[in-house]
Amino acid sequence: MAELKLSGIVKNFGAVRVLHGIDLAVQNGEMIVIVGASGCGKSTLLRIVAGLERATGGTVLIDDRDVTALEPAARDIAMVFQNYALYPHMRVFDNMAYGLRIRGLAKDDIKRRVQEAADLLGLSALLDRRPRELSGGQRQRVAMGRAIVREPKLFLFDEPLSNLDAKLRVAMRAEIKRLQRRLGVTSLFVTHDQVEAMTLGDRLVVMHEGRAAQIASPMEIFERPADTYVAGFIGSPAMNFLPATITEDGKGARLSDGNIIALPPGQFAAQPGQKVTLGIRPEHISLPGPLRLTTDLIEPLGSESVVHGRLASGETMALRLPGAPPSATVLEIAPRAEHLHVFDAETGKRLPPPA
C-alpha cells in the first residue's frame, strides 16, 4: 500500500517523444486505469513506473521516496503481464515462490504466503502443475498470485485480460476488482478496452498521443468529457459529432442545414458566432424531432436497437432506441438538450461553464 506520484514524466525514443510530461497522483489503495488507443504511450508510462523503462525526464515517487533511478526489484512493486510471463519450466508453486526465494524469505513463510494466495485465487489444487497444463484463466490467476505473494506497495497490470476469451474476460475483470478492493493495494491498470476501464477504475487516465487528455472518475469522464477525443473514445457506439455555429443570442447552435438546436442553459460559455462541435451520445436522442435521419443500418440488440444513418446535411449519426427496431427508413430525431456537449471547433476542448 502506497501513494504514487508522477510528475512531468517525459520519454523519448530516439528523436520521437512518446510521453509529453505526465502528472499523476495516485492515492493509497486507489485503482487507476490508464486507457487509450494503441500507441498512445500508456504501456510506456506503466513500464516507467515499473522501472523497466527509464524516463527521459520527470520523477516517480512511491511513498515520497524517489525511485526514478532504481532497478525494478528495488521499487517493491509487482507486475502482471499481458502474456502472463510465467516461468514455463517451474510448477505453479515455484512460479509464485520464486520472487520470495530471491528475497531470502524463510521456507515456512514462503509456503504460508503462497498457500494463502492460492486459496484466495482458487489455485490450491493446481500448485503442482506446470503453466502449459493450465487454461488461460488459470495462468492469469497464477500471474496474479505471483504478484500478490510479494505483498508489494504497488500492483501494475499491463493489459492482463486481453489474451482471454470474452466470457472469461468479464469474469476475471470482476475478480480483479474484488481482489484489489479486498487487498487494498494501490494499482495501475493499463488497457485499451473502455469497458474494462469504466468498470475497474476508481479514476481513469485517458491518454492521447502521449498526453493525459483527462484524469477523472469514470462517470465524470462519461458525463463531462474534456475534449472531443475523450468524448469519442469513451462510450459505445461512439458519441455523434455535429459541426455548428452559435446563434446570435447565444442560446442555440445552428447546424449546417440551418436547423437550430437549443443549448442547455447555464452550462457552456458560448460566444455568439463561435464555431463549435456539438456532441450527442446515441442514447440521448429521442423521437420525434426536427432532424431528418435516413437510416442505412439497423443493429437489433434485443433490449434496444442501434440505428446508423445520415442526416440531410450529410453527417453520419448513430442512435440507440429502446425496444424493437423502427420500421421507417426516415426518422425524425431530436437531440436531448440536457445531454448536449459543446466543444470548441478548433481546439476540440469542452467549452467551460459560464463564469
Binding site: G51, P72, A73, A78, A85, L86, Y87, Y98, R132, R146
Partner: protein
C-alpha cells in the same frame, strides 16, 4: 510436433494405396539399407575371423569363431605387429577428448550467446559478427597458426593441446543465441521484477529452458569430437595421448602387411561410443531439434 508427424505420414498413406508404387518404395528402401549397412556388416563379420581369412582375399559375410580372441587382443594389446597402443587406452583418450570438447564448447558458447542475446554493451554486434564470421572458416584454414601457438605454449602431446583449440564453437553460439531470442521479453522482465539478477536468471530460467537444446548439441558435438582426426594427427606424436582415430590409421600398412581382422575389430570398438550416445539421447535429441513451444 504433431504437425511434423502428419506431414510425414501423408505421403506414406498415398504410396500405400498403390501396390506398384508400394513395391518400388520397398525396393528403393532395401537398396538404401544395403548401401549403408553392408560395409558395417562386413566390418562386423571381419572382426570375428582370423588373420588368414581376409588375408586370402575373402570377404566374410558370416560370423567366424575368433571374435573373443580378436576383441581381447586389441583391447589389451592393440595391434602388436605395428607397435600399437592398446585400444582401451586409445578409447580412453578419445573419450576424454570428445567429452571435454563437448562440455567446453557448450559451456563457452552458451555464456557467450547469453551475453550477446540479453545484454546491450558497446560493440555487441561487432562481437556477434566476429563470432558469426568464424563459422565460415573451416578448421583447416587456421590449423597451422593454431599449431604454432599450441607448440609455442608447449602443449604438444598433452590433453590441453588436443582439446583447447577445438573448444570455441561459432555454430553452437549461434544456435543458442537464436534460441535465446525466442525467449519472450516479458519473461526477462518478470524475472527482473522478481529480483533475479543476470546470473540467477541464467541459472534459474535460461539454463533449464535450454536443456533440450543442450542435449541435442551434446550428441552432435560428442560425435564431432570423437571423430576428430586432422588436429590430433598434428598435435600428438607420443602414444600417451593417441586417439582411436589415429590408432586405426596407424594400423594400416601396405596391403600384405595389414592385419585386417584387428583393424576391423578396432573399428567396431571405435563405433560403439557414438552409437551409444545417439541411441541413449535420441529422444532428447529429436526434442531439441523440433521443439518450438515453450
Amino acid at each position: 510436433m504433431s504437425e511434423a508427424r502428419n506431414s510425414i505420414a501423408a505421403p506414406m498413406g498415398m504410396a500405400g494405396s498403390n501396390p506398384r508404387a508400394d513395391m518400388l518404395t520397398h525396393i528403393i528402401l532395401v537398396l538404401g539399407v544395403l548401401l549403408f549397412a553392408l560395409p558395417i556388416w562386413i566390418v562386423l563379420m571381419g572382426s570375428t575371423h582370423d588373420a588368414g581369412t581376409i588375408g586370402r582375399g575373402d570377404v566374410p559375410l558370416l560370423p567366424g569363431a575368433e571374435a573373443a580372441a580378436n576383441y581381447s587382443a586389441v583391447w589389451s594389446q592393440g595391434n602388436k605387429r605395428r607397435a600399437g597402443v592398446p585400444v582401451s587406452i586409445m578409447m580412453f583418450n578419445s573419450a576424454i577428448m570428445a567429452l571435454l570438447i563437448t562440455f567446453g564448447k557448450i559451456a563457452i558458447s552458451i555464456i557467450s550467446a547469453y551475453a550477446v542475446a540479453f545484454f546491450s554493451f558497446p560493440g555487441r554486434m561487432l562481437f556477434f559478427w566476429a563470432i558469426f564470421i568464424t563459422l565460415m572458416l573451416p578448421v583447416e584454414v587456421r590449423i597451422f597458426p593454431t599449431f604454432q601457438v599450441v607448440s609455442d605454449l608447449g602443449l604438444v602431446n598433452t590433453y590441453a593441446g588436443l582439446i583447447v583449440p577445438l573448444i570455441a564453437s561459432a555454430t553452437a553460439t549461434l544456435l543458442f543465441r537464436q534460441f535465446f531470442l525466442t525467449i519472450p521479453d516479458e519473461l526477462v522482465e518478470a524475472a527482473k521484477m522478481d529480483g533475479a539478477g543476470p546470473i540467477r536468471f541464467f541459472k534459474d530460467v535460461v539454463l533449464p529452458l535450454s536443456a533440450t537444446n543442450i542435449a541435442a548439441l551434446f550428441v552432435i558435438l560428442f560425435v564431432y569430437g570423437w571423430n576428430q582426426y586432422l588436429w590430433p594427427l598434428l598435435v600428438t606424436t607420443s602414444t600417451d595421448v593417441e586417439t582411436i582415430m589415429i590408432g586405426i590409421v596407424k594400423m594400416l600398412g601396405s596391403q600384405g602387411d595389414t592385419e585386417w581382422h584387428l583393424v576391423m575389430t578396432t573399428t567396431v570398438l571405435a563405433l560403439l561410443p557414438p552409437v551409444a550416445i545417439v541411441i541413449l539421447m535420441q529422444r532428447w535429441f529429436v526434442k531439441g531439434l523440433v521443439e518450438t513451444e515453450k
